[in-house]
């Protein structure tokens, strides 16, 4: 398979291992472009893309925009606060209007799960889900896998431990689906109130004790803790969370010595992860960001740019 036979990228649950492999391999050649002095190729010249961000985002939005610019696509970006959403226009009407301006691909971040499906069913343009509610964040999942794959040379049979608020995390869901498809073992840890109900459906194990969860892990990923979860009664205090579930050097002793430390950002330093770990030798937090641009270039190329032979 040399091209993605799909219109949209909505989630990794529906994506095959072959497709993921194609994207990761393509991302590798895209990263090579990023290392050039002149980071610009004409691949998507004349193609039009809309970045529609109904939720605040720094790195995902910048990452997509740079990917588009490096590939010479024309793009416009609309942020939630300045969009017609605040004037009461429906999402469908907003996008239809933009579509008739000639947009071929819409990158959307939205606070409601499933909104990327809703959009994809209502427009002819390709839709890339840049995070929909608590559902999926497929490009983040792909960039995390890309980072692990680059560092470890494989994904198969690696043990990846994800610590934190799995229940509300689209990043966790995409990582779980993607990593499982690629043959990795996934263990999640954190307070039970932050775990999704019936989590067996993901084919993963839960361990309430972080020290046990990270035992022999090849990768340990911390998730961002939303402070408002405390207000909704899901855990008692940030202090207790940091003490019981926060990642620190001591807590990671049972992990493999060369275990990668990951975080999708932005980090609450001192809560879900200590600076010592986040900035330490095993941390690949910044590599994740670089990989993000490469993965997004790969996706745009595969969706809009045609086949590898071109």
């Amino acid at each position: 398979m040399q091209t993605l036979r799909r219109k949209d990228i909505l989630g990794l649950e529906e994506m095959s291992a072959e497709e993921i492999t194609l994207i990761l391999e393509t991302a590798r050649s895209m990263r090579e472009i990023m290392q050039r002095k002149i980071k610009k190729v004409p691949t998507l010249r004349g193609r039009s893309i809309l970045n529609l961000f109904y939720e605040p985002s720094t790195r995902t939005k910048a990452s997509f925009e740079l990917a588009q610019k490096y590939m010479s696509a024309d793009s416009v970006s609309v942020a939630g606060a300045s969009s017609s959403l605040t004037k009461g226009e429906t999402l469908k009407d907003t996008v239809r209007n933009v579509e008739v301006m000639g947009v071929e691909c819409v990158i959307m971040r939205h606070p409601v799960s499933g909104s990327a499906y809703y959009l994809a069913h209502n427009v002819e343009a390709s839709v890339i889900n840049a995070g929909d509610g608590m559902h999926e964040h497929p490009t983040q999942g792909l960039l995390d896998m890309f980072t692990i794959w680059e560092k470890k040379g494989r994904l198969e049979k690696l043990k990846v431990t994800i610590v934190g608020d799995i229940r509300h995390s689209r990043v966790a869901r995409s990582n779980i689906w993607g990593l499982k498809k690629m043959g990795a073992e996934v263990v999640v840890a954190g307070p039970p109130t932050l775990m999704p109900p019936d989590l067996e459906v993901f084919g993963i194990n839960f361990c309430s004790n972080v020290e046990d969860a990270v035992e022999d892990a090849d990768v340990v990923m911390a998730l961002r803790l939303q402070k408002e979860r405390q207000e909704s009664g899901l855990f008692p205090s940030l202090r207790e969370y940091a003490e019981l579930y926060g990642l620190n050097t001591q807590r990671l002793k049972k992990a493999k010595e060369d275990a990668l430390i990951m975080h999708p950002g932005p980090m609450n330093r001192g809560i879900e992860i200590t600076s010592e770990l986040a900035d330490g030798p095993n941390s690949v937090v910044l590599e994740q960001v670089t990989g993000g641009v490469a993965v997004r270039m790969a996706l745009l190329y595969l969706l809009l740019g045609g086949t590898k032979e071109e």
């Binding site: 649950e13 429906t90 999402l91 469908k92 939205h110 606070p111 409601v112 799960s113 499933g114 909104s115 499906y117 809703y118 069913h121 929909d132 509610g133 608590m134 559902h135 999926e136 689209r170 869901r173 999704p196 109900p197 019936d198 989590l199 067996e200 459906v201 993901f202 909704s232």
Partner: protein, 439 residues
Amino acid sequence: MSNLLIKNGRLIDPLQELDGVTDLLLSGGLIEKIADKINPTVDTEIIEAEGLIITPGLIDMHVHLRDPGEEYKEDIISGALAAAAGGFTALAAMANTDPVCDDPSVVRYVMDRARDAVVKVYPIGAVTRGLNGKELAEMGRMKRAGAVAFSDDGKPVSGGLIMRNALQYASGLDCLIIAHEEDLSIAAGGVMHEGETSSTLGLRGIPSAAEEAMIARDLILLESVGGRIHVAHLSSAGSVELVRQAKEKGLKVTAEVTPHHLLLTDRAVKNSGYSTNTKVNPPLRSELDRQALWEGLFDGTIDAIASDHAPHHPDDKDVEFDFAPFGIAGLETTLSLLLDEAFSGRNKKFNLPLLVEKLSTAPARILNIPGGSLKPGCPADVTIIDPLRGMTVNPEKWYSKSMNTPFAGRRLMGAPVYTIVDGRVVMKEGVAADYSRIN
């Protein structure tokens, strides 16, 4: 009013324990006679019903008509036409309109408008003023004006004390309270059933416990202060068990289930790609829950089937999942969905007499309204069903102003072919008589 003779149909009337081919004569708006062979007189209109099924007029005891206030979604006239098209001769209209039906004047408004409706419309009054959950509505005065039951449906009565007072007060007037059972603090703003599917879809879940905890509370209150409760739209196995135990104790409790909870699970949300037509409250639950609902129906724990017809304008549903209102419109699909289930053989215990019991006999008994039987002297409310008539669910052709159904496109076997109210044919072969336009 001429006589109407329905000949050679299979007549099913659970109340009289009748199930056999016979003739049925309607005269003067009442059931006149059931006999093997009835000879027509000169002024008798005849419906040849060989191969068809004759049942007491079906009663939908849980319908939202949106009138007054949101007539663009549905009004009393369009809702009644939809009911007739779906084989119902009567319906009970919930109180969560705008203004809320919490006052005799709104009860009378509904009854006045219902005079132009093709089926009988019974108003349900609110339990609390403005559904505010704080002060009791004037149940006694509303009952005198014509309200047949009381419910804040759409919302639970969250406060335990006000529910206790409502039950105790209503017991003195022999008023039925229909309870929407949902602990909102446990439901926590969820949008679908909490379980495997909500986990993978990333949608906020409503645990079964939100319903069960409230049912448990209300049954305890019922036991302590008396009264009558009808539990609306049961959705979980635990709820069925709670009602079962309460019935065993002899409490005055009845319960209903909707066709969509009997036929669908939360997988429908996923399989439909987040279609907001699968967003309903209480939510579609797990397969285990679904099976338990059928068991409850078979063993008598669940007395009735009601559509919980909750019409919404297409624009209201054509939004992101979280933003869509809850509700499935069911007046025009309920009977055919159940007939299809009965005829398909998928559910061996589900047969036509049971269907008639749950859709006609029981609702009439619970609401204490006329109908529910073909006994001579009863109102001539009759539904005639063609078991061999196929139908495809096509909301674009509905009489209802809404289109929100997860069953669109589904091919079903069995459909109502005549709806007869007080001896007058108000629907024939899918075409309803619109009196509001004639008058």
